[in-house]
Amino acid sequence: MSQSYDRGLVEDFGRWREFSAGMWAWVFHKFTGWVLVGYLFTHIAVLSTAISAAGQSSEVIAANNDVYTTVIVTLESLLVVRILEVGLLAVAVFHILNGCRLLLVDLGVGLDSQDKSFYASLILTGAIVVASVPTFLAGVF
């Protein structure tokens, strides 16, 4: 016999004090998903400068003075962009790790330790992000 679980209205964030690990996993997965899809559109918009750059002369491209290279180098010289990239890494790593957890749950693997795997996703995300900070901030100061 199938069982149902009424999770209540998670969208009512006033209930956040009552949220269990599973609720937080759901909220974080949605939040990181919204950020990533927003970034995807922004990312393609920025990379589209390559279309203009392709029309520039080979001398300009060889000298790295084309519009695409200039835009990327200028953005990467800004500390705020580097910090946002670290944030993007955090969001992407959590979404990947929690997504792997969801795939396993869908396959019926580890159903009894869903809360533990959520905490493991959070800790691993933190560790990967902290370890990546030097690489992401290199050369900006």
Binding site: M1, S2, Q3, S4, Y5, D6, E11, K30, G33, W34, L36, V37, L40, F41, I44, A45, L47, S48, A50, I51, A53, A54, I61, A62, N64, D66, Y68, T69, I72, V73, E76, S77, E85, L89, A92, I96, G99, C100, L102, L103, D106, S132, T135, F136, A138, G139, V140
Partner: protein, 123 residues
């Protein structure tokens, strides 16, 4: 017997595609981040280097597939989230076709960009 409590539509396959694309994206997104932040640093990106990568058919096709799967996964995720919020009727149809249009624009623009690097027509 318990009532059916689910936001999945019966007979739908979008949930399956969401998971298939997830499995692909886990690997390719990790590869993308690693290649463009750890192997090649983002501040060292140039048009010439991006071109050199994109001129390889294997890399070009992987990136186009990455674009299509990421767009589907992201936009379908947005649609699912809005469905979860209780979106129904005409607003749901408007959102659906807006998201489909946005996806098409994104994929076409992404392919034009990839073509610009690969030296192919940007139509």
């Amino acid at each position: 017997m318990a009532e059916r409590y689910s936001s999945f539509e019966k007979g739908g396959r979008r949930w399956l595609w969401q998971r298939i694309t997830a499995g692909f994206l886990v690997v390719v997104l990790a590869f993308h981040f690693f290649l463009l932040h750890f192997v090649n640093h983002a501040d060292e990106v140039t048009f010439a280097m991006s071109s050199a990568r994109m001129e390889s058919l294997a890399y070009y096709s992987l990136m186009v597939l990455f674009l299509i799967t990421a767009t589907f996964h992201g936009v379908n995720g947005v649609y699912n989230a809005l469905e979860n919020q209780g979106l129904t009727g005409t607003p749901k149809r408007v959102v659906k076709y807006t998201l489909i249009a946005a996806s098409l624009v994104l994929v076409v623009q992404g392919i034009r960009t990839a073509n610009a690097w690969a030296g192919l027509p940007t139509f």
